[in-house]
Structure formats: C-alpha cells, structure tokens
Symmetry: C2
Subunit: 217 residues, 2 copies
DNA sequence: TTGCTTTATGAACATTTGTTCATATTGAAA
DNA sequence: TTTCAATATGAACAAATGTTCATAAAGCAA
C-alpha cells in the first residue's frame, strides 16, 4: 500500500504524494506544524482534506516523512564527494567551497523551507533535535576537524584545537544562513549578509594559515 | 482594571499575573505557543482555565506580554553600563566579559526559556522577528562594531571591517547558546560547549590583536 | 463583623480540527 | 468498451480548544 507501484515514470499517486509534501513543507515552515491544518494543506492544493488520507495515515505522518527527508537534505552532506587527502591539501579552497555552499543553500527555496522547519521543530521534537545534532552538526563538524587536523600536519595552518576551529568555522555560516532566512521572510535586502559568507571565510583563513614567506623562500 | 493597585508590595493580583506569565513561558518554550492550551497553563498552576481570564484578555495577550518582556531581557542589554571610551580601551577584557555574559545567560533558566520562545516564534511572528532583529541583533552588533572601531584607532587591534568583525564575534556566541539550550533539553552534558565560549574569545582576540613586541619594545 | 472589590469556579458555548466512511469519480489494463 | 483498483468528494463525528458568564469564594477596608 505504501511502496512504489509504477514501473518507470512517476505514477499519479506518487506525484500527488510529492505535491502534498511540497505544500505541507511550505506551510509548516511558514506557520509552524501545529498551526497548519489539514484543511490548509488540502486547500493550497485545490483539493478536499479527506483526499490526503489516501496518501498519508494522518497529519503526523506527513511531518515524519518531511523530517525523514532532512537526513538526505543537501546541507547535511557538505563533504560528500571529497577525498580526505585531497580535501585537506586544498586548504583555503576547501573552506571557500563550504562557505559558498552555505551561501547558495540559503537561497535555495527547498533548503530554506527545510531549515525553517528544522529551527522551529528542533526545540519540541526530539527526533528533529537528534537529526540536527547527529547529521547536521556532529557529522560535519567532525569531518571538518579531521581535515583541519590534516592541514596542521601539512603545516598549511597553525597547530591548535581542530574541533574548536571546526566549530568556529561553522557557527557563523549557520548564523548567517539564519539571518538570510529571517530577512527574506520580510522581503528585506540580504546583500549585507551575503557578503558576510565570503568575509567569514577570508577572516577565518587569515586567522589560521601559516605564512610561507620566511620558512620556504 | 489593568494598572497597579497595591500601594507598596505586590498585591495578590499582580502576583498571580506574574505566576501566569512564568508558567506560560515555561510551557510555551517547551511545547510551543500554539501547542500549549489555556488548560495546560491553568493546570500547571493548579487553577481552572477560566481564572486566567481575570488577568488577561485572552491567550494572545499572554504571549504579547511575554514578547514585550523580551525587550527588557538581559541578553539585549550586553553593554548597558559601559562607558564607550573606557570599554574600547579595555580591549580583550571587553570581549571576555561579553563571552562570559553569554555563557552565564545560557544557564539562566529565565533567559533560556525566553531564548527558546524567541527561536520558535521568530519564524512566524513578525513582532518577535522585529524585536530579535532590532534589539537583540542590530543594536548589539552596532555597538560592538563601534568599540572595535575605536580599538582600531587605538591600535589595539588590526584595522579591518568593524561590522564584519562584530558579526564574527557574535555569531559563535549565539550558536553556542543555542547548542547549550538543545543539549540541556535532552539532559546531555554541556561541558564541551561551555569551553567553546572561552575558546572563542581567545581565538577571536588572537586573530585581531596587534602584537606589541616589535613596535614598542 | 459588614460591605465591596477582586479573583476563582463550574458549566456551557461556538469553533476549529483531525479523522472516518460510504459513495462518486477517475485512470489505466483487459 | 468494460472492469477494477486508486483516488477524490461530501458529510459527518468526536474531541479539543478558546472564551464567556452567572455565581461562589476570598481578600481587604470600614
């Protein structure tokens, strides 16, 4: 009853299911889960509320499905395609790449909605909190601290606490992403924040890098 | 009907009103505003729901009152008692003071609840967003950037973009405060985050300070 | 105590909301 | 076209929720 039926293309059923999820995500991220009614979701799709129950057991299951999607969201896979050795050797370019990725994701509608859903539900939904902590936070911070540690060994950056550095690198990116999200909500200009993404990478790299001049020249 | 009646000490009325606000804040910050019912609040106080309507017009007014309290909350007054000239001259000590204040506030129950309420309502309540942006964010960042600018003129720190630096200083403090809040919710250990407050100040200061050795010694 | 204002109670209400279900409609395979 | 499973509709229900109000209790000044 729940699995895929169609052999190749999307069947009508799964297309509707995807539309429900998309609509629900938009509403949940705007009004909050509790304040969004089943009628709201159906209404936004031009359908009656009872129709949704052919695709989801209940309202909770819609949220659970969206939460499940969080784990495969782009923001949790910052380092997917990087080879550790290669990544560490790329130094500043690695950090700049992450900074850019954060910046771009801040302006991606799907990611923005997921981010807002995450922020609102994190404080009252233990599962969301767990996903945030393990997938979004811990995994990325640990991975980055590994890279930073390798950069220290390569004498690209100064020796210090890699985990602390990883946190110091992530925190502003997270914060700026939140700021963009808030500004966009009121249709305010985001340009001042946008530049902060790059300035952060620059400032951070200048703080940790080892100047080559005297030692090698 | 709404103003203060008692001549000196708290009258019974205003004591009850304060108790309602305290109870509501705890519940709102835990379950969210929408998911908290008037019966929940009354029940937690050992009173019937109709009693609350002698003190507040409706549920919304309770939230509005709490939101109003945000503007006088400790976290928005980081620099209250500082003399600008003196503050700038104190250099690292100023930053360390702010770092400590953030750290302490993360463990203050009242502030924690307000912070959680802020985080949850910010995305759907325009007034909360406005308070966050103007009082919590803009005002503090601007003030700090002024101090940083003065430090640059005093040649205590390297010359660069003060507003960017202020953001770079605040963002991790905000982030760590959020992390503490999340960890405490699951009764997890916060020790690793606690040390990050101090490490951040240290790392940040080392990144901006001008070394006195060569120029003055 | 008496009298009066403030606060609490119990019961009730109109809505809102999630959910169900019998029935109608649709879409595709035969 | 016929047939059958998948999906949509309309109506309805029970529970939850915000709110009101007449009445009772409590606090306090005289």
């Amino acid at each position: 009853m729940d699995g895929d039926k169609g052999t190749s293309a999307l069947s009508k059923g799964s297309k509707t299911k995807a539309k429900i999820l998309k609509t629900a995500l938009k509403l949940f991220s705007t009004k909050g889960y509790k304040a969004t009614t089943v009628r709201d979701i159906a209404g936004a799709m031009g359908v009656k509320q009872s129709a949704l129950y052919n695709h989801f057991k209940n309202k909770d299951e819609i949220l659970e499905t969206l939460i499940g999607d969080l784990t495969s969201s782009a923001i949790v896979h910052l380092f997917d395609d990087k080879d550790p050795q290669e990544a560490a050797r790329s130094g500043k370019a690695l950090l700049a790449g992450i900074g850019t990725k954060f910046k771009l994701l801040s302006f991606d509608g799907q990611n923005e909605a997921l981010f807002k859903l995450l922020m609102q539900e994190m404080f009252r939904n233990e599962r969301v909190r767990e996903i945030y902590n393990e997938h979004f936070y811990q995994e990325n911070v640990k991975k980055l601290s590994t890279y930073l540690f390798m950069m220290m060994q390569e004498e690209l950056i100064r020796s210090s606490d890699p985990l602390m550095l990883a946190n110091e690198f992530f925190a502003p990116l997270f914060f700026y992403q939140m700021q963009v999200s808030l500004l966009k909500q009121d249709k305010k200009s985001t340009s001042s924040v946008v530049s902060l993404f790059e300035k952060h990478v620059e400032f951070f790299w200048e703080s940790i890098r080892i100047e080559k001049k005297e030692s090698l020249f």
